[in-house]
Structures are given as C-alpha cells and as structure tokens.
Amino acid sequence: MEKIQEFSRIKFRIKDVVYEGIVMPRTLYEDEDHFTVKLKNGYNIGVEKSKIEILEAEPPKILSEQPYEKGFESAGPKILILGTGGTISSKVDYRTGAVKPAFTASQIVDMVPELKNLASISVKTIMNELSENMQPLNWTLMAREVYDAFKDGYEGVVIAHGTDTMHYSASAISFAIENPSGPVVFVGSQRSSDRPSSDAATNLLGAAIFAAKSHSPGVYVAMHASMDDDLIAIHKGVKVRKNHTSRRDAFKSINAKPFAYVDVKNLQIKFSEKKTEVEGPMNIYEKFSERAALLKFYPGISEKLLSSVFNKELFDAITIEGTGLGHVSRKAFPYIKDYINKGGFVGMTSQCIWGSVRLTVYETGRDLLSMGVIPLEDMLSEVALVKSMWVIGNGLDLKVTMPKNLRGEISERREAL
C-alpha cells in the first residue's frame, strides 16, 4: 500500500461500510501496522492497515504558523519570564500530537489574563529541556540570563522550569548569583497547561506577582500550597524539595516555613518570614563542576560501589545521605578514611529529609568526625551536592565553604513547625 501522508483526509471501507476521517500521526511507541484515524465525530480510533480499503485520500492543506510575538508592554514593574522547558512551558499540539514550547508573551497573557495589568512582561525561551535532562551547563546559562536581566533593569525574573529537578536548579542559581537585585522565582506545573485543570496558570500568576511586587531579592520556588487553586507557596530556593510524584503541592519547604504565600484571588502577598533586602553589589559565579557526587547509604551497600565512588581521581567531593543523625555502616569506614586522606571532601547529610545531622550523639558519628567527615547540619542532600559542584567549579575551599551558611541553606535554629 502506498504511504498516506499524515493529516490526509481519507475515505475508507471496512467490510461494507464507508467511513471518513483524517489520518493522525502515530507516536514512537505505536506500531506501523495501524492507522490512527480521527473520525468526523472527533474520536480517534486505531484500525489495522490490512483490514481497510482506502477509497480516497486527499493530502493536507498546509497550515500557517502563528506569528511569534516578542514583547508585552503595560504599566507596572518590568519582569522577565525565562522559558527553559518542562510541563509548564510546553503545550501539546493537538493537530500533530507533538509537544511544543508555548512561550510567547501573547500565549502567556492568554493563559493568565490577570497578568495584563500587573506588570510589563518580556518573555524569552532560553532552552527547551525536560528537567531530568538539565545539566550543570544549563544552570550556568540560566545564571547568566538572570544576571543580565537584572543588569538590564528588570525588577524580577521568573524561570519556568520542569518540576523534577527544579529544586536543584533553584539552589544552583541561589549560589551562582550573589546579592541578586531582585527576586528570581522558579515556577513549574504538575498538570500540563493543555488541560483546563492545569496548575500552570495559577502557579505562573503567583510567581509573577511575587517577582513584580515582593521587592524581596533572593531565589525562590513558587508552586501550589495545597490541593486548592487559590494559594501559591513561595519557598526559599535552598530549602525546598519535590516530595510527591504528582500532586500540585509536591514542593515543600524543609526545616522551614514557606517564605511567603501569594493569594492569587486577591493578588496579594503574605510574608511568613522577614522580607529580604539587597545586601551588597550583585556578583556572578556561574561555574559548576561535575567532580562531585551524592551517595545514598543503605544496608547492604556493596563494597564495589563504595570503592568506585570514594575515588579521588574521579571526585573531589562526596555528599553522603546517611541514616538518621548522619550515620553509615562500619563497612564504609576504610573507604571514607582513605578518600579523605587522599584529600577528598566528605560531607554528611541525612536521608531523613527533615531535621539536622548530629555526629556527636553516637559512636558511629564520632568515628566519622574523627576521620574528617564534615557534618552539613540541616542542609538538604540535593542542595549540598549542588553547592559542592559550585564550590569546586569556582575554585573555592570545600572544607571552609561547605559548612558555612551562604544563602540560607543552613539554619542556625530549627523551629517547631
């Protein structure tokens, strides 16, 4: 059978019945023995190619692409929205079934009409990566864009990002930009923006309100506070973690209250912590090294794994996600000791997620301390990893910098929340 072009209008016969429809594209996971046909009533069905007789096939008319709109001017503070990919900044094209970046200013205003009177918005798509594909190089690129934006006079920056690794990127930018002149707000969505129930619009609205109106410099993550659509939580970029695979409120501040909430119904910000201020000139340290690793300890961990990870030739810094207050089995001691003796840095965090490590309570902890393992307090393991990549990348001293609180990643005290 001759190949029929996608989107051709066809008339075909199955047994004695004639049907009409449009040939739809097949995804990568679907075989080539079937047609997907969109019938006149809008339904798609799959039929075996061998079963049908094509009576007529009319090739598709070429549809023109929408013109790309660059800027959006209105009253209010100037903010920049950067598109990096992920669920929030993409849209399924129902004609082709393909996922495309949907980040033009007009599309954003169309999605969130409330933005119109709120701020003067510019939009720039700087990459189109699913968040699991983000690399340290992407962080570097993002950092430069943020730095340039503030230099260009933007008062706030919103970064639309895939949610899976958004907290890694948020801490990377937290470290890369010292004293940002305004808020940098990461935002994602857990339900794609092509469905009416998407959280993309409200999250984006919350992020934009915070970027435009909070006057609170720093790096943040803006996502749903609960299952409700009316409150967006603003988390500190170094204190946040994705804690659920699918819920809208997957992101939670760990060992801290959310920094603020945005009521998207009344377009108001409620701070739960003291507002931040610009503390000095803005600087950028945007390099990240891959000579750092994160190791989750577990019972039965193989010595083969330990010996390959604690290898000074490969890594300068290892962050361990230990059990409880920061422990690993005796079995790992020789590898850690040897690695530190060769000049490697070992930092300890906890896989408990909540709470701080404390290596002075049990003998195991004291043994690790005496070997030279550095406790990283209540720093999240993901944050510690990113920080070590940043420390190495910018030629700083791991032993001095890692345990020091730079951006709020280590809390001096932990409130009963």
Partner: protein, 618 residues
Amino acid sequence: MKVGFEIHIQVNSGRKLFCNCNPKNDDSSQLEFRRRLRVSTSELGEIDPAAAFEIKKGLNIVYVSGDKTSCLVEADEEPPHEPDPYSVEAAIKVSNMLNSFIVDEIHFMRKIVVDGSNTSGFQRTAIIGLNGSYAFRGKNVRIQTICLEEDAARLLEKGEGYVKYELKRLGIPLLEITTEPLEISPEEAKALAESLGRTLKLTGLFARGLGTIRQDVNVSVEGGGIVEVKGVQKLEQIQKVIEFEEKRQNMLLEVAAKLKERGISEESFADLKPIEVSDVFKNHSNIPNVKRFFKDYAFALKAPGLKGLFSYETVPDSRLGLDLADICRLFGFKGIIHSDEISKYDFGQDILRELENKLGISENDGFVLVFGDKEKAVLCLQMVKERLRMALKGPVAETRYATEKGTTRYLRPRPGASRMYPETDIPTIRITQEMKDKYMVEIKSWEKAVEEFSSKHSINKEMAEQILDSEFTDFFENAVENYKNVPPTLLASLIVQVFIPYQNSGKVIEYDEFLKLLDEFSKGNIAKEAVIDVARYMLEKGVNLESALKEMNIEKLSLEELRKIIKEKIDEALQENVEPSKLYGTVMGRVMSLVRGKIEGKIVNEEVKKALENINKA
C-alpha cells in the same frame, strides 16, 4: 421526525475506569478542595459562551471527596491508571452482541467539559464499537457507536459564583450506546429504548439500581438541527418528551416561515448590537417598577420581525421567550423582559416609546431587555442575538434537558467534534482478534428472563416483569436472600405496590428503614397485613419506622389479649341474639376491626373457631 438515543449505563465493575476506587465503599471521612478551570481563548470558540464566561470570570468549584470512594486520580492529583480490564471486556462483549465493527486499537480521548463536573476539565472517552445493529420489531436499528467513558461528578449545589460537586460518581465506567436517528413514532421510540435497555440489563454486565441507566434523546424534525435532550430518567418520560419536541420544533419552523414572510433575513441581524438604555430608566426612576428592577444598567436588543413571536406557542412552555430567559439565567440574570411581555411590568407608555425610538423599532420588530451588570448584559444579549438569528432557520442543534412534566428547556449549544483531544496519559490499547473472538455475550430473551424470575421466586409474571424493569431488582434479590422467612410475594408487593408508584412520583427511597421493617416482620413483631400499610405510611409521611409504628398505633397483640377480645365479642353477640349461622361472621368481623395489623388474620380465624367450638360443646 427522527429520533435517536444515547443510552448511558454503568458497568458493574467493582472499580472505576481509571483507578481502583470502589464507589460502593463506605467513606469514613471527607475532604473539600477548591479549584478553578481555565481555557485559553483559542479553545473558547468551541465552548458554549455562558460556560466560557463563567470560567473567564473565575468560577469557583468546590469538590467533596470521600476517602474510600475516590482518590488522587479523581482529585486530578495523579495520572490515570490502566483502564479497567473488566470494563474494556464488557465494552467488547456488548459491541459483539450488537454486531459492531470493533476497533483494533482503543484511543482514549479528552472531551473538554468546563462546567466543573470533571476535575480535569475533560471527560475521558473512547470508541470501542462502530456501526452495529439491533433487531427491533423486524427492523435492524443501526447502532452508530459504542463508547467506553467515565461518569461525571454529581452536582451538589450551585450558588452565587460557585458550584459544588461530589466525587463518588466521577470515574465510574459507563457504556454509551448511540442509535442512528430513525423515523419512528414516539410510542415506537419508547418501546425501542425499553427493549434495548432490557437487553443490556440482561447481559449481567451492568449495575442495577437508582441512576445506573440514563438516556439522552435526540429529536429532529425535517428541516431542523438535532436537538439533544438530556436527563430523561424514565421511559414514560421519553414518549412525552418526543411528542413535546416534535410540536416545539414544528412551532419554530412556523416562526421561521413567519419571519421570512415579514422579510427578515440574515442581513437584518448583521449590524445588530446590544444598546445601553440606562438613561431611559434613569429618567423615569419615580415609577415603582423601575425602582424595583432597574439598578445601574439596562441594555436592550432589537429583535427584527419578532413582534408577537416570543410568546407564540403551540403547546404550553414551547415559546421562544422561555429559551431566551433560560439563556439569561445562565449568565446569572433572574430573567428577561421581551416586548411581548413588557406591558405586564407597568413601566408606562413613555418608557416604551423611548425604548422603541432608541432601538429603531418598526412595525413588526420586537426587543429584549435586561437589567444588571454591564459586561454580563452585553455578552448575554449577544448570545440572545445569536439565538434569534438562528430562529430564521427554525429549530437548531442544541442541548436541552427534560423536565418532570415531559417538556424540555434550553441548556447549551451543542458542542462540536473539535473539543476532542487525545488523552496523552493513556497508551493505546490493542484489541487482538483473540479478544474479539473470546469476549462474547448472547442476547437473552426478555420473556424468558421474566418467566425464570417469576418461577424462581414464586411470584406472578406481572410482578416479576415490573421488578425486573425497576431499579429495585437488587433490593428484591438481596432481601430474598437475607430474609428467609419473609415471603417473596410480600417483598414483591412491597416493591410493586409501594416502591414503584412512590418512585414514579419522583421521590427517593431510603432502603435502610425498610430493612428494619423486614427485621421487625421477621421477628414476628409486625403482622403480614400491616407491612404494606406501614411502608406506605413511612413514605407518604416521610417518617422512620419507629414513628410510623407509634403513629399508626401498631403494637403486637399477645394471644392472651386476643382471646380476651374474642370472648368479649362472642358474649356481646350472644346477648344480641345473633343467629347461630351468622355468629362466626359477626364475631370475626368485629374482632378483626379491632386487631387488624396487630396479629395475623390466620391466627384470629383459628382462635375464633376454637372459641365458638368450646361454646357449642358447652
């Protein structure tokens, strides 16, 4: 006239279509959450303007979710799971039974629905079978499609700026069977729906009970669009609805002809716009009804050629004015004032003249007037204009709903095929030839099923048929199983004499109290004669069993008390010198009038006989 059906029937799978929740579970807690749905402007064109307007305005949707009957999937907080295999199997079986072409791959689609009845903003639906047939009265009725889809959430309440839904029903697997529109009489249509419904029920694949089968009826007269009528619950309603729609649509054809006669065409509507007429009312604010109705804004729309046609009707409630009022209600207006009715409002001749001047009304023109919010009023009148423009063509394709009386009211324009998008979260499902050959179900004869049911439970065929047709089949079978000493005939009478007539009057029956009634009967605390009366009393007065028994003064009579009464009545009769041949009848009658319902008649009979024998002996 052509009539078609969409029958929706719940599959009796113990779970939902895209998750493992069982809607029959008992919830131990509930939680509420609030959402808003959004649609981008590019898609708005396909969604009815009133709903789109509500969404744009930020309609607040509140969902009530039970912990055991719904989960994160219904809350739209987790992607859908694999479709329920039992339901897929059931859909293939029915497609086979109805001689359909079964698709080789199932592609679930998203049908955009923005009224909040689906948390996701769409309903998931897929075609399983195409182009089937069903034999009915010697004809082959074509079955256009057989779809597997998820049921919507149940509306709890609608208030100012919000709607509230309950999630238990959301996601229950439904089969939708669509018949091709046929030229048949209302009576035949009813019989067809009944026959197809019975055939589906007899497969044993579907849930039985209240609300498990619903049908939409499509009616179109020649020269008109297809009108879809939703919410036809009872078969008796079908016939009335079709008869009503036929008359209403013919009336619209008459209106169209009259408009043509008056020289009205598409052009008459071309430059028509809602006009602000607030000034007219401001200038006459001393008139009582102006004070009462006019607040900030008044808008009006000229209705070319429609004078006298708003109120024209061939059957009660079929007039065009009612449709316009329903459109306005969707925008939150209490109603609408049109030129045929304006005299009722006592605004006075001055206002009328000024309005007519402002709108440029000539001889045959009418107008429509609304009071209220500026933005809403303009949008609403634009929709009214569309509706009036369509009146040129007669009846147009739209969705209506059936009322209790068997009339229909305007609901929304009919959605087009373009609101269907592929559901990207669910991979395509192959239906192999093996599955198509294996998943079969036979058409069972209704007569045979009735006969079997009647002989199994020793009840007569009329009762058997009524029970099988009703939503109480499960109640009956469970009760027969669980109450061994309650005679099936008594249960059948309870259903046929009490439940069915009561339900036909549109009321809901709570089963639990009736199970208590059966308990009391089983324990011998209520006589057989009293069961039906008590049940009827409970439903009519809306009281529970305890109150009914108290209010009806039904207490079980002891044998001793009965004997005492019998003795009294015999003594009484003897003193009155009642003839010996009439003695039994007299005593029996007088005793029964005192003890009816408190003790079984059989026992009274025995005791009276015994007492009279003793007297004879003496």
